[in-house]
């Protein structure tokens, strides 16, 4: 076949092309882009190496300072900006929590108390985010901030490795929707990076664990002997839990659960506790208020860190308006204030154990990672639920995820290691159910959560009206029974259904997830008793919607009502 003379670059297709043909000669860079900190690592030919910036730091703070024409970030400027400058309104941070969220999202609303501008209108569009530059609010987007940061990371890696970096493996929270994942891919594309894999954080930790286990038991036991491990990861913005069965370098993810709850929530709870009028105070966003919020944030962060080591801490803050806060906080106070956060963590672990169908007694290792994993209450909670005396101590809790990402980067790039260190495989599972709207507003799952990927599943549906010739396939992601509780991923229409009584035409909806987690939905009409295709099937890569998800649903409902609705097909067994 003749080579095409030119290619048309589009958002999705070029990245797809690259995914199929990665550059096999070099391992991809592993990136842990955290809410508050980030790090990068790479397979150096014999082991995973964390890369350091020019200030010899492995962990870099995730923020971008909008100082002058060229914004700069925590990778290159860490020592230049002190805490108070970062909280002065000029710097934007915590973007991982905001990326891909609409202004109706509670997480966006809680971000309004950050010391920069987050403006919401509550109508289901992206929030307005701005940094204070020369006494004016200058707008930006979460994707832009992440992209600037990724450019700095890329430049740092290119200097260290003396080669161009193109392919990366990023870790993401379990609770990231597919729409949020596209936003991360977008940020990478803006930074000139090609995403080889987006890996849920605890599965990256699981891969590192699989490698360590393989080295320990390589000679002792056959690969049929499997070890169950529970990974608990809590960082600044997210909490994730995973259960993996590991043997012979293969990590099979049995269950995943996650929520958008993290250290930032605890920080806000404590700030609210020591400054009761915190919410009205932080809503003002004057220069003085931002300065005060910044000082309060610095003191509170420091206090929370100290409470992991000592039983009480004193808080002294002088606010910009002259008022002073003098208070002490004990570890018990801290735990009581954040009880709701700990309850969420407990629910995530219980759900993960149930989904994996394993008993706590069967868990061999409990691995605690992430910035919040040193909080004593959390450690006790996780270990207690897993009935373990102590946690796995074979890995650094801040570096585990990025090391796992670097391992995956080497494995997915086809790098092999003569000593068998890279003889690894992660068999991933879907963190959320995928399905479509049918029977009114009901969400009918087709791929259930924790299904092993790659996966391909289908279900039959039928028409809901007499002589209906078209149906609308609305694809959602989530666990709610009603579609409105879930994320809309996209929609498309199937036409050319032969007119007939409702409930007779069969509409086959198939969902296909490939190894790089790309979701495709195939749908078409099947006539009972006929082998001839009614019309070509339609295949759609999801997600297709941009922002304003809620609007699409409303507009569709207004325009079509229930005329294009689907019903589940109730078949009698033969």
């Amino acid at each position: 076949m003749a080579e095409p003379v030119y290619t048309v670059a589009s958002d999705s297709e070029t990245s797809q092309e690259d995914k199929r043909m990665p550059n096999f000669s070099e391992p991809a860079l592993g990136i842990d882009l955290g809410t508050s900190q980030c790090s990068i690592a790479i397979w150096n030919g014999s082991c995973v190496e964390l890369l350091k910036n020019t200030r010899n730091q492995k962990m870099m703070r995730s923020y971008i300072m909008f100082d002058n024409e060229i914004p700069s970030g925590g990778v290159s400027q860490e020592s230049v900006h002190d805490e108070f400058e970062i909280f002065s309104g000029r710097a934007i941070f915590n973007m991982k929590r905001l990326v891909g969220r609409m202004d109706t999202d509670p997480v966006v609303h809680s971000s309004k108390m950050l010391p920069f501008l987050v403006q919401t209108l509550g109508i289901g569009v992206r929030p307005f985010i701005a940094a204070l530059v020369n006494n004016a609010w200058r707008s930006t987007t979460p994707e832009e901030v992440l992209a600037i940061f990724l450019v700095e990371l890329r430049a740092m890696a290119e200097v260290r490795l003396r080669r161009a970096i193109r392919n990366v493996v990023l870790t993401i929270p379990v609770s990231f929707s597919r729409f949020q994942q596209t936003r991360i891919e977008r940020a990478c594309a803006m930074a000139g990076l090609n995403v080889l894999r987006l890996m849920p954080e605890p599965t990256a930790v699981a891969l590192l664990y699989a490698q360590q286990q393989q080295q320990i038991i390589q000679d002792n036991l056959g690969s049929g002997y499997e070890k169950l491990a529970l990974m608990f990861n809590m960082g600044g913005g997210f909490t994730d839990v995973a259960i993996t069965a590991t043997a012979g370098g293969v990590s099979q993810i049995k269950a995943l659960s996650g929520a958008g709850v993290g250290g930032e929530d605890m920080l806000q709870n404590v700030m609210r506790h020591i400054l009761p009028n915190f919410d009205s105070f932080s809503a003002v966003h004057g220069v003085d208020e931002i300065k005060s919020m910044g000082m309060l944030r610095v003191t509170t962060q420091d206090a929370i860190h100290k409470l992991s080591l000592q039983n009480s801490v004193s808080l002294n803050v002088d606010l910009a308006n002259g008022s002073k806060i003098r208070s002490t906080m004990t570890r018990e106070d801290f735990e009581a204030i954040n009880n709701s956060v700990f309850e969420v963590c407990k629910d995530l672990i219980v759900r993960c154990l149930n989904d994996a169908k394993v008993d706590a007694e069967d868990i061999a290792d409990v691995i605690l990672v992430g910035g919040c994993s040193s909080i004593p209450k959390l450690r006790n909670l996780v270990l207690g639920l897993c009935k373990k005396g102590k946690a796995y101590d074979g890995m650094n809790h801040l570096e585990a995820a990025v090391c796992g990402a670097a391992l995956e980067g080497a494995v997915a790039s086809g790098v092999s290691d003569p000593s068998g260190c890279l003889d690894l495989l992660t068999i991933q599972a879907t963190p959320m159910s995928l399905g479509i709207r049918a029977d009114g507003e009901t969400f009918v799952p087709i791929v259930l959560r924790n299904t092993t990927v790659p996966a391909r599943k289908d279900l039959l549906f039928t028409t809901s009206q007499e002589n209906q010739t078209e149906v609308l396939i609305e694809v959602y992601e989530g666990e709610g029974n009603q579609v409105k509780e879930n994320h809309l991923l996209g929609f498309f229409k199937i036409s050319g259904i032969p007119p007939g009584p409702k409930g007779v035409p069969e509409i086959n909806v198939c969902m296909d997830i490939d190894a790089s987690n790309v979701l495709r939905v195939l749908a078409g009409v099947v006539l009972p008793g006929s082998a001839a295709p009614v019309a070509p099937f339609i295949e759609v890569r999801m997600p297709t919607v941009d922002d304003g998800h809620g609007w699409s649903m409303e507009a569709l409902h207004k325009m079509y009502g229930s005329t294009l609705d689907l019903a589940t097909l109730k078949k009698t067994p033969h």
Binding site: D458, V526, H574
Partner: protein
């Protein structure tokens, strides 16, 4: 008999194998559709290239759970799209996982063993005509439809 499972999980034919390509083409949809209709009609057995689940995992029918796990993992390392850069001989990872999902669950395995049993099981004669008929997958799907593949 089928409890609350009101949605029928249609075209369940183990004969349709996924090609290695990441991108399912319309041609495979066409094959799928043909398979769907024959399953729905339930009259003829599809061309039975359908391998026995034990054959898929390359284990004996008497294999222990540990042997089944070992076999699954070693096959996963060879056939998972992440683990192999070469084109496999058509034994797709999904099929391997599918076989493992059934054989690693004692209940599902017992049920499967009965369905492929040589004698004694009264449903056996039916199976000979439609090895992958709706009856057959319903039997498994009642219990295992979460991990079962619908094809």
């Amino acid at each position: 008999m089928f409890g609350t499972l009101s949605v029928s999980a249609g075209s369940s034919l183990s004969t349709v194998r996924l090609s290695k390509s990441r991108c399912p083409k319309i041609s495979s949809a066409g094959r799928r559709r043909a398979a769907v209709t024959s399953a729905v009609a339930g009259t003829i057995g599809a061309p039975t290239t359908a391998a026995n689940l034990y054959e898929i995992l390359q284990v004996k029918e008497t294999a222990s759970p540990v042997e089944i796990k070992t076999a699954y993992r070693s096959l996963a390392k060879r056939f998972h799209p992440d683990a192999t850069s070469q084109v496999s001989d058509g034994r797709d990872f999904i099929q391997i996982h599918d076989a493992y999902a059934t054989l690693s669950d004692p209940m599902a395995r017992a049920q499967y063993d009965r369905s492929i049993g040589q004698s004694s099981f009264p449903m056996d004669s039916r199976r000979r005509y439609a090895s992958a008929s709706a009856w057959n997958d319903m039997t498994f799907r009642t219990r295992r439809w979460e991990t079962d593949q619908c094809w």
